[in-house]
Amino acid sequence: MSALVEIDNLHKRFGTLEVLKGISYSVQPGEVVGVIGPSGGGKSTMLRCINHLEKYEKGSITFDGILVDEKKVNINQVRSRIGMVFQHFNLFPHKTVMQNLLLAPLKVKKVALPQAQEKAKELLKRIGLLDKADAHPGNLSGGQKQRVAIARALMMDPRLMLFDEPTSALDPELVGEVLDVMKELAKNGMTMIVVTHEMGFAREVCDRIIFMDQGVIAEDSPPEQMFTNPKNPRTQDFLRKVI
């Protein structure tokens, strides 16, 4: 089976600060990859390069057999197949929950309204927020917002889901409901790359953990090994601090 995502020698700098110094790894279809590491280590930047929210200077990213950074590739088409969930939700506040879900399918995929509505209702039911369809994001809790944001991404039938610290902005008691939705997604075979500080989640749900520090992948191993027997001293040091 060929990899769904293949990142090769990715380099990225902000001005003189080199944040990614040659990142390479690949993700198989159905795989759930957790990305952990200290702040400023380049985790989010790496994730944002995958759907080209960040430009990068060197290296290549292949998604589903397409070399993404080629000028010829329609980046919008690629993005429509990669769902992204942000730390701060980024729901569209002027639109209702239902409208948030419908916008991209209607405008990008040109799905007919009844089908899109049907799908939206199904997804809202799945995340337990069908009764909030007509609410505006401003009237939702953080956990509810993030669940809606996940549903909004799922509306596009993505092949890959990117999570950028999806629970970092949540009150502790709301983290669980978001993680539950993500667990369900993982169980149903969604390919996911999750930048997270939730070590419990990473250990329980991820097939593989990548530890990033100072712009490089310091360690890439299955969760059991990562959490019980990390090889790299930097990993050991980080895990000692967070667990």
Binding site: N76, F86, N90, P93, H136, M156
Partner: protein
């Protein structure tokens, strides 16, 4: 019968023209201003520079001179506009420059996560702008836009110099006939105020209407 009462219907005709001038140039000015405002934030120099030159030049020169250029100056270049058209064009170009700055501020007030979320869903830059950024930006700058419309209603009095029979010009007619300056200009001022006060009420109502819950 006081002169102001007798002349009232005549002044009202002028007020109607003032209203038309305001609505027309406010409408077109908002369109041009939105384009120029987006242009100033564009990554493309070919859009950014002309937008900036437009805004800076119009803001930095008197409206009266702009009216003169468009009505008296352009015919020498072969572009002969009727007075009303020239008036609307001049006011539109002027309002557009101020609106551009308002729209720019509005767009910049929106968190960049909004654009990222829209783009990450596969929407084009234009789709994201149109469906996500601008609707929020306009809500945020509605009070400033209302100010601009009110300023426009008042500044439209300047086109009286090219013979548009708007409110101020009508007042001048009456005074040239009756010499009752205080009474008529006072009446004219009150009509302007009625116009602008209604506009600010309408803007206030729209603000409430489109407020994001």
């Amino acid at each position: 019968m006081p002169e102001i009462v007798r002349s009232f219907p005549f002044l009202l005709q002028g007020a109607l023209i003032t209203l038309w001038l305001t609505l027309a140039s406010g409408f077109f000015g908002t369109i041009i201003g939105t384009l120029a405002g987006m242009g100033r934030l564009s990554a493309m120099k070919a859009l950014r520079y002309p937008s900036s030159v437009y805004v800076e030049f119009i803001r930095g020169t008197p409206l009266l001179v702009q009216i003169y250029i468009i009505y008296f100056g352009l015919p020498s270049l072969g572009l002969d506009l009727k007075p009303f058209t020239a008036a609307v064009v001049a006011l539109t170009i002027n309002a557009g420059a101020y609106t551009a700055e308002i729209v720019r501020a509005g767009i910049q007030s929106i968190d960049k996560g909004q654009m990222e979320a829209a783009r990450s869903l596969g929407m084009t830059g234009w789709q994201s702008m149109f469906h996500v950024i601008l609707p929020q930006a306009f809500r945020n700058v509605l009070p400033a836009l209302g100010n601009e419309f009110i300023a426009l209603a008042k500044e439209s009095s300047l086109v009286s110099v090219i013979g548009i029979a708007e409110l101020t010009r009508q007042g001048q007619y009456v005074i040239s006939r009756t010499f009752k300056s205080f009474e008529i200009y006072g009446g004219v001022a009150l009509i302007y105020f009625a116009l602008t006060f209604s506009m600010s009420q309408i803007v206030g109502w729209v603000e409430k209407k489109v407020k994001i819950p």
